[in-house]
């Protein structure tokens, strides 16, 4: 190229844009420096496009405040006193201190904590497991981001699923196999967030241009809400009631797909009326299996047994002729000479949905009954139709029943694994780096015995079955109680609990003060890092090699340049893993990459040459209709990968865990309905976490091109509410409740309803260099959100529906450093 500029292609993931990645980019390099970055027009994921955060990379990569050398703490915790050390010295100290903890207290006394799971999960697991600790922690209360949704879907449909935007197909939307959805439900997601959950957000815009109509479920007038055919302005925390209302309409009006119900659900299984549980073969046949279920066969007029292992009925007459009843009351002889009354799962499911009439649901959700009916009909009649859900789904304590109700929608309307519907999704080519719910990776604990000490594992069902992290709230409790064993050290990588991922950040401050040894790995100094004993400088995506197989495509990340003494997370952890584990399996990091992508038949070099790869037709990681073709199950039989082979309207695992197996709505813990006592003083619903196009959670406040576009922490207030509270647009105000307070700039706008305010999250002030904690508690909305409100299965947290009041500040309450902020916005 001209002017000695070399153009190198790679894949975005994590540090830099901060996202879950997937974009193909072209980095323009001159003399080893990044001079420009552009989207790769040949890449099927983004087709040349690129978001603001990735386009600001030149300001990020050579930022004057980047951590460039390892640091050692020489002052007190939380003070700004560090000195530079070499990598060797840093590694030696870490090795010595962590070995001491391992010897004195056991490896499980070290917690390995990460922020949102980007290009970090594999590497943090690799290090923790090599050290011998099962305690990998995602630091959000109730683990309330993504893995609850994955675990919930694994429970009832075996595999996760996402909306189909032809991302698996060569030629994308033009591929003849693909169908553009007629309808898409956007459930708690807004577009400026750019890319959610390993999907490219603007694919939805592509689809809208091709004719997809939107149903938007959001308490706030998002851009989607404004462009939707139906906007259901829901009261936060009542989503399950709305989903049940949809089911009610679809069942009443018989808008469901009879074929799917018949062939692929557990609808005909008998439920005992005496205890409400499933009737199992072991109840009716001596020596029968607890894993086999009972139906009433209309052909033989008697019961038949569903053999879970063979995935077929064993009835007295030839199998295949069994015609199970989906509805009715049956008296069944059980062992011991008793008779029990039974009904079917489908009858119970319908009876349950019946309680959620549109009128009832209107009372709970504030969504007009008429709109619920119209939207439900439109969704059910559109073929195909899909649903995209955002993280608010995880951010409520009863997340699992909520997911169950939503999944029943796409299943019962016949939209599962069809073109343009919600399709099962697995890592491309089944190339899995580390254990996620439902998938086993290359990186694992050496010995399953080591998993026994994982915190929360024995307390919560899903943590024993799908979720291989510790339960975060339980970890915090244990740090203070020291029971059943003491927690001594923390490895903290891509994680800033004082500013973002930690609810009740003052509690986290105590946690960081209490631990004996903390290592922090990051790209910039953060408030949380100020508590670390050793700080290691990490790299952006342009400075590392890597592999990405989050759904599709399978891609390599290619090292484009190096910045000072910074090292990629994977390299840092690899080096230490080798030090902690004399039998560590891999010699070089690239050997591990090769192992991860081995199922694709390629090695790292070969994949790198190609850039990306899509799984071929007929591969289990490529749609469509896999449950019909027998591509999902390891036995090659049609069906799903749930414990029983069916889509479970009645979750057998939840029965096992003593939790309600059918979906339902339960009022969250802190709403005007559940806590009228608190609502007297704190009458407004506090919702948080609406996305900014220019920030990824706590990141990017120090990038001038980005910060100038969203300079201050903002709370959105309806004009009527603002007037009532004597608040003017643009003024700094206080948002507070019984937990604490934070200050925000008022944005008076009709996009929020009068009964709710929406506060931005993730705020700290990198420009406030005089404060060692960068004023991290000043505008931190988490100050108002408690921990320890997870659901009965250990998942979810009330992040979208707290209570608060707003007021003008006292005369000295607001300290805002406008000058520094402006400096930050200039370069």
């Amino acid at each position: 190229m001209s002017n000695n500029i070399e153009i190198v292609k790679t894949t975005t993931w994590s540090a830099g844009p901060g996202c879950h990645g997937g974009c193909g980019v072209e980095a323009h390099i001159k003399n080893g420096k990044l001079v420009k970055i552009e989207g790769d027009p040949d890449h099927p994921w983004n087709q040349g496009r690129l978001c603001a955060r990735a386009l600001a990379m030149t300001q990020y990569i050579d930022h004057k405040d980047r951590l460039k050398k390892p640091l050692k703490r020489v002052g007190k915790r939380g003070e700004d006193k560090f000195e530079e050390i070499s990598w060797d010295e840093a590694f030696d100290i870490i090795e010595e201190k962590m070995n001491k903890i391992r010897e004195d207290f056991g490896p499980e006394s070290m917690i390995f904590s990460m922020g949102t799971g980007r290009d970090i999960g594999p590497w943090i697991c690799m290090l923790a497991y090599a050290y011998g600790s099962p305690n990998v922690m995602f630091a959000l209360s109730g683990n309330a981001c993504y893995s609850p949704r994955i675990a919930a879907l694994d429970t009832i449909q075996g595999d996760y699923s996402v909306f189909d935007a032809a991302q698996w197909l060569p030629g994308r939307y033009d591929n003849p196999e693909y169908k553009v959805p007629e309808c898409m439900i956007i459930w708690g997601y807004n577009i400026p967030a750019t890319c959610p959950d390993n999907l490219f957000g603007h694919w939805i815009i592509d689809l809208m241009k091709k004719g997809t109509k939107i149903i938007c479920i959001d308490p706030r007038l998002s851009w989607f809400a404004s462009r939707s055919k139906y906007w259901l302005q829901i009261r936060p925390g009542t989503d399950a009631a709305l989903a049940m209302g949809f089911l009610h309409v679809i069942i009443e009006e018989k808008l469901y797909d009879h074929n799917f119900l018949k062939k692929f659900t557990d609808g005909p299984r008998l439920l005992r009326e005496d205890n409400g549980k499933l009737l199992r073969e072991s109840h009716v046949v001596k020596g029968g299996s607890v894993e086999n279920f009972v139906v009433f066969d209309k052909t033989s007029n008697t019961i038949a047994i569903w053999d879970t292992t063979l995935q077929e009925y064993k009835s007295k007459i030839k199998s295949g002729k069994t015609n199970p009843a989906f509805s009715g009351q049956f008296e069944v002889d059980v062992l011991g000479g008793k008779k029990v009354q039974c009904t079917t799962v489908w009858d119970k499911f319908c009876e349950n949905a019946k309680q959620y009439s549109p009128e009832e649901v209107e009372k709970i959700t504030f969504v007009p009954a008429d709109n619920i009916i119209k939207a439900a009909r439109f969704y059910a009649k559109s073929k195909p139709a899909s649903i995209h859900w955002g993280v608010p789904i995880d951010m409520t304590p009863e997340i699992t029943p909520l997911c169950h109700a939503i999944a029943a929608l796409w299943a019962l309307t016949g939209n599962l694994d069809v073109p343009g519907g919600n399709v099962f999704t697995r890592s491309a080519f089944n190339a899995v780096a580390y254990a996620l719910p439902g998938a086993e990776g290359v990186i694992k604990l050496k010995d399953q015995d080591q998993d026994k000490t994982r915190i929360g594992r024995d307390k919560y069902g899903p943590f024993n079955k799908f979720i291989w992290r510790c339960q975060t709230d339980t970890v915090i409790d244990q740090i203070f109680s020291g029971k059943p064993y003491p927690v001594k050290g923390l490895w903290m990588q891509t994680c800033n609990p004082l500013s973002g991922i930690g609810l009740d950040p003052k509690l986290w401050q105590k946690v960081l003060g209490k631990l004996e040894f903390i290592v922090g790995v990051d790209l910039f100094m953060t408030p949380s890092l100020r508590y670390a004993d050793i700080i290691l400088p990490a790299s952006t995506f342009l400075e590392k090699d890597g592999v990405r197989s989050w759904w599709v495509p399978l891609q390599t990340i290619n090292k484009v340049l190096k910045v000072d003494d910074c090292r990629p997370d994977a390299e840092i952890n690899f080096e230490l893993a080798k030090r902690f584990d004399p039998d560590f399996k891999w010699e070089k990091l690239h050997d591990l990459f090769d192992d991860i992508i081995e199922p694709s038949g390629m090695n790292f070099k070969e994949l790198q040459e190609k850039g990306w790869a899509l799984p071929p037709e007929g591969h289990p990681s490529r749609p469509y209709h896999r449950h019909e073709k027998g591509l999902l199950r390891s036995d090659g039989k049609p069906g799903l990968t749930t414990p029983t082979g069916k889509f479970e309207l009645y979750a057998t695992l939840r029965e096992e865990w003593n939790l309600e197996p059918l979906p339902y709505h339960k009022e969250p813990p802190f709403t005007p309905i559940s806590r009228p006592d608190l609502a007297k003083d704190y009458p407004l619903i506090l919702s948080t976490g609406r996305r900014s196009p220019v920030f990824f959670h706590t990141e990017h406040r120090n990038i001038p091109w980005l910060r100038e576009l969203d300079p201050d922490p903002v709370v959105e207030i309806n004009p009527d509410t603002a007037k009532e509270n004597n608040i003017l647009h643009g003024e700094w105000i206080i948002v507070e409740n019984w937990m604490g307070k934070a200050q925000f700039k008022a944005k008076v706008t009709e996009i929020v309803p009068p009964w709710m305010v929406m506060a931005a999250h993730g705020w700290w002030f990198p420009e406030e260099k005089d404060d060692p904690l960068f004023k991290t508690f000043k505008s931190n909305i988490n100050m108002l959100i408690p921990m320890n409100n997870q659901g009965k299965d250990g998942l979810g947290a009330p992040i979208k529906h707290l209570l608060c009041r707003i007021r003008k500040p006292l005369s000295n309450e607001i300290v805002h450093n406008e000058e520094e902020r402006i400096n930050q916005c200039q370069n």
């Binding site: 496009r49 386009l55 815009i205 007038l221 706008t749």
Partner: protein
């Protein structure tokens, strides 16, 4: 070359699909090395209107400024302007006015921006 023969360039903005993602703004700043805090080639305005039927409506409007030079250098090299190429919603089209007129979307409001 007489004025008549000089092709007139413009930007067709299919703004109904503008999501307000701010990509164009940063794309321009990067391309032309505009400093933060200084005006770049394009800004995006969020407008919230209450329509006569009571419905609230969000419009994001990319507004091209005095600083927009239509990425002359890129265009000469046969590339698209930086904002056009990167726009996440693909709503910007750069070209000769006569060609752009043919691409005006049929059923949507749009803007054809012309530099005087």
């Amino acid at each position: 070359m007489s004025e008549l023969e000089t092709p007139q360039y413009g930007m067709l903005i299919d703004y109904e699909y503008c999501t307000g993602c701010q990509t164009c703004v940063v794309a321009c700043k990067q391309e032309h090395k505009h400093s933060a805090g200084k005006l770049g080639g394009v800004e995006v305005q969020e407008l919230i209107h209450k329509l006569p039927n009571g419905k609230l409506y969000i419009t994001n409007m990319p507004f091209f400024t005095e600083m927009c030079v239509f990425c002359v250098k890129r265009v000469k090299e046969g590339l698209e302007p930086a904002c056009v190429k990167h726009c996440m919603a693909n709503i910007l089209t750069f070209g000769e006015i006569d060609d752009l007129k043919k691409e005006i979307p049929e059923k949507r409001k749009s803007i054809l921006w012309i530099k005087g």
